[in-house]
Amino acid sequence: MPGYNRAEVSAELTVVPSWEGKQSPRAQAEAARRAASESGLAHESGPGRTVLSGGRTEVLEALRKVIEASLDAGAHIVQVKVEAEGDAQRFQKS
């Protein structure tokens, strides 16, 4: 079976590494990945992109940690897109 029962909230992060950061661009991206991984909510969603998905509170809390880890590593830009994904909206009538 499966349903098509997406998580309550998904947040996609893209870390734009800075060449002037405290750490190398690769280390900046890795810091974000590591923080995301620790949340238990993360999946890769593209080169340098990570999706956190789960309940609203836990995603937003994890999001803050990932952003802080990225900034601490020297990233200057972290792009974030947050989507609330209730199942009902999945099958909008067209």
């Binding site: 079976m1 499966p2 238990g40 909510l41 890769e44 969603s45 593209g46 992109r49 199942d87 067209s94």
Partner: protein, 799 residues
């Protein structure tokens, strides 16, 4: 259940499909010949791979030869320069979300850095000839750093295992804690069991045709199980609004869960939109093995405790499912394995832990009976082992502990009516056994090995075994499960005609026929046309979980009722009669006394009546941290008895007979029901004896029907059937889903029969010849007891 008017507007199709045939079905409960049966047998049916379009290009997919690797570079220059090649695309060309997935979007549309399984898609080619496309794939230069595959689920669960996904390797862990958690029993039996990776082996490998509409959108003609879930994933990855992505069902050879995930859908649409040409992708059988998910291989450790008189005291189980590289529907499979881990028995205490784990093996997902198939083999093996330990008849032990309405399942859910577990077993036991002639002197065709001249009866032993299983029907755990149906009653060619329009996938189960039967029954109109399924109407949900006759059948019934109500209102107004006193019968409006009021053609004239409704089943709920909750809608049960002859010298098996009893609620189309039981039984026989994708270190060794063994008509014995029709008071017509149960109870019955014949433990399916050969040279620790029908066992019996 609810009704609403939710019609979607339809655009002009980019490819005219085959006209929907007008049939004259019988009513619900009567045999009706399926409309697609004759064209399929004659080779006239248009399968998805048969489609074409003017100016069409052929798509092909570059796949990783490695199960685990890092991609350092992808060079498409040479491929793109080839004459006849129109596009070469990589992850950089995915316009929208670069990952997809039904539950968890974790699978790359095209891999960008990591390869997590052999066969993972990396690049696409569109060319003017399929051979050109194939050769272009060879010109794409991918630089890999090959990594050690993580190919063992237990190893993947270890704390120090390499993480294959950021979220970790344990995709889901379900615990069920039910009743006393420190139970004490007089008799304890334990066992470890394993189920191999089965392929759906559907007819017609993955294929579809994508046609750009010239306005930035795309039409996809596709063989799939759930049009709308495909559409929504496509829209996300193509970065298009859903209305710009229109899907139409094309001919499906079979599915069994294997078409529930996306395969070539996004790829074909990407190529079509990129080239502005129609693009067709057709997998061959080898690519199909890499192109869809399979049944989860599973390892299970069980402990059953019982009283001396055979009452179950507790069940403990640890279940580990290998989910492979991506999530697919693994979370639901894990849940089912847990929920049905104890079987259809009244179990006072249960301690269940079910895990599904990421590895570098092929991704696994939905397959007929998902989760319930694996655990049925284990719990039924345990019941036989317990019967042997207690010295009681294994069927009697099952009946003694049979689940019944009002009992609480290990999830706390109260077993609803009907749940005739004991009756199924009693009726099965009462069915006559096939006569046992002496092995010597028999027609060779009746012996293991057949006319291969392997035995003339020497070394042949007969065994008999029983198995029973159950599972849920419909979507569970709080999912708002619904189906949409649009019904139009009109006059065509001077006669009334009902048109039924849904998005439900006919995957060979006979859904089109049963929809026509429902329309015929509810509206009293002989001529019915079931229109091509597409996304112009609302979602019907998936053709899986044995749910479509319940859900889409329920929606069609509800829509017909709405049409009938309007029809009777109109007729009542015209005739000056109370609509409440009128009904529809044989193309006419009739009064309560049976008198003919008016012909439908006269009442309808040139004003058709149309209604679109949604049918929702009752609410279900998620499981809590202890695995408690009313997670499921309905439960379906079946039992099998297997009779086998085994050539113990060569390990060859001939299945003499499979007998079955199944609770179906209502036999909607008895002929189609029989087909479902035969088919599910055959697929269960395949899992028990033949079918396994051989995977070593993440690599598939037998991606062909030469090496992946399927049962043929020569392997299938007669199937004796008894069908129980105890109506589910809540379901349309009282029906139950019927597609999956036969697939659940067949494997344990066959394994039990083989144990009865050989005395071997046989803790793994499929049972291979080497598992049963050489009984004479290496006899089992204890020979089978006459009539024991169970394995040898070393039970722990309390003093």
């Amino acid at each position: 259940m609810s009704a609403s008017t939710t019609a979607e507007t339809r655009t002009v199709p980019t490819r005219p499909g085959p006209a929907a045939p007008v049939s004259r079905p019988n009513r619900v409960g009567e045999n009706t010949v399926r409309a697609d049966g004759v064209p399929k047998v004659r080779g006239e049916f248009e399968y998805s791979s048969d489609m074409g379009a003017d100016g069409m290009l052929w798509g092909a997919t570059l796949r990783s030869p490695h199960p685990h690797a890092t991609i350092w570079s992808i060079d498409i220059t040479q491929a793109l320069a080839m004459p006849g090649v129109h596009a070469v695309l990589t992850h950089e060309d995915v316009p929208g979300r670069k990952v997809y997935g039904m539950e968890i979007p974790d699978q790359p549309v095209l891999a960008w850095e990591h390869v997590r399984y052999q066969g993972e898609a990396i690049a696409l080619v569109a060319a003017d000839h399929p051979e050109t496309a194939r050769r272009a794939l060879d010109r794409i230069d991918v630089t890999y750093e090959v990594l050690e595959p993580l190919a063992d689920a237990e190893r993947a669960m270890a704390d120090d295992a390499q993480r294959l996904h950021l979220s970790g390797n344990v995709l889901r862990h379900i615990t069920i804690r039910h009743g006393e958690q420190a139970p004490v029993a007089d008799v304890v039996v334990t066992g470890e069991y394993e189920v191999g990776m089965q392929d759906q082996a559907f007819l017609g490998p993955e294929s579809g045709l994508a046609v750009p509409d010239g306005e930035g959108g795309v039409d996809l003609y596709i063989a799939t199980q759930w049009l709308h879930v495909d559409r929504d994933q496509l829209a996300e990855s193509l970065d298009l609004p859903p209305e710009k992505v229109r899907l139409t069902m094309s001919g499906v050879g079979g599915a069994f869960g294997g078409r529930e995930d996306l395969s070539m859908q996004i790829h074909a649409c990407m190529l079509a939109l990129h080239t502005d040409r129609p693009v067709k992708i057709v997998y061959d059988r080898e690519e199909s093995f890499f192109g869809h998910v399979h049944r989860h291989p599973c390892r299970m450790r069980y402990e059953h405790g019982a009283t001396r008189d055979g009452g179950l005291v507790y069940v403990k189980a640890r279940i580990v499912l290998d989910g492979g590289a991506y999530a697919s529907s693994s979370t639901a499979v894990c849940s089912n394995a847990a929920c049905f881990a104890c079987g259809p028995y009244d179990v006072p205490s249960a301690t269940i832990d079910s895990y599904v784990v990421y590895t570098n093996n092929p991704p696994c997902g939905a397959m007929r009976g998902f989760g319930a198939v694996q655990t049925a083999f284990a719990y039924e093996s345990q019941m036989d082992k317990l019967a042997a330990a207690l010295g009681v008849d294994p069927v009697e032990l099952r009946i003694r502990n049979a689940m019944a309405p009002g009992h609480r399942m290990p999830t706390g859910q109260v077993v609803p009516e009907p749940a005739p577990v004991a009756e199924l077993l009693e009726r099965l036991r009462a069915m006559p056994l096939p006569a046992e002639a002496p092995s010597e002197g028999r027609d060779l065709r009746d012996l293991p090995g057949g006319v291969s001249n392997t035995t003339h009866g020497e070394g042949v032993r007969r065994g008999v075994g029983y198995g029973i299983g159950f599972k849920n029907v419909g979507f569970s755990e709080g999912f708002d499960d619904y189906a949409t149906a649009r019904v139009i009653l009109r006059v065509a060619d001077g006669e009334p005609l009902v048109e039924v329009h849904t998005a439900a996938a006919e995957v060979g189960q006979g859904l089109v026929t049963v929809q026509a039967q429902i329309a015929r029954t509810e509206l009293g109109v002989e001529r019915v046309s079931v229109l091509q399924a597409d996304t112009a109407v609302g979602s019907a949900g998936s053709s899986s979980a044995s749910r479509q006759t319940y859900m889409t059948g329920g929606a069609v019934k509800l829509a017909c009722e709405a049409v009938r109500e309007r029809m009777l209102e109109r007729a009542g107004l015209q005739a000056g009669e109370d609509p409440g006193d009128l009904s529809l019968e044989d193309g006419a409006v009739v009064s309560a006394g049976g008198g003919r009021i008016a012909a439908l053609t006269d009442v309808l004239a040139d004003e058709p009546i149309e209604e679109t409704v949604e049918f929702h089943h009752h609410e279900t709920y998620p499981l809590d941290e202890n695995g408690q909750g009313d997670a499921h809608l309905q439960f379906a049960f079946s039992a099998h008895r297997a009779v086998v002859d085994v050539d113990t010298r060569l390990g060859l098996v001939r299945v003499v007979e499979l007998a079955t009893t199944q609770e179906v609620g209502k036999a909607m189309n008895p002929q189609a029901l029989e087909g479902q039981i035969d088919g599910g039984t055959a697929q269960g026989l395949g899992l028990a004896l033949l079918e396994e994708i051989q995977v070593r270190d993440g690599r598939i060794l037998n991606a062909s029907f030469t090496d992946y063994l399927l049962p043929t008509i020569l392997d299938m014995p007669p199937v004796s059937k008894v069908v129980l029709e105890h109506a589910d008071p809540e379901a349309p017509y009282g029906l139950k889903g019927v597609g999956e149960p036969p697939n659940i109870s067949t494997p344990p019955a066959l394994a039990a029969a083989l144990r009865d014949a050989t005395g071997r433990e046989l803790p793994r399916i499929p049972v291979r010849p080497e598992h049963i050969v050489g009984i004479d040279e290496h006899p089992p620790a204890r020979p089978p007891l006459p009539g024991s029908r169970g394995p040898t066992a070393t039970p722990h019996i309390r003093p």
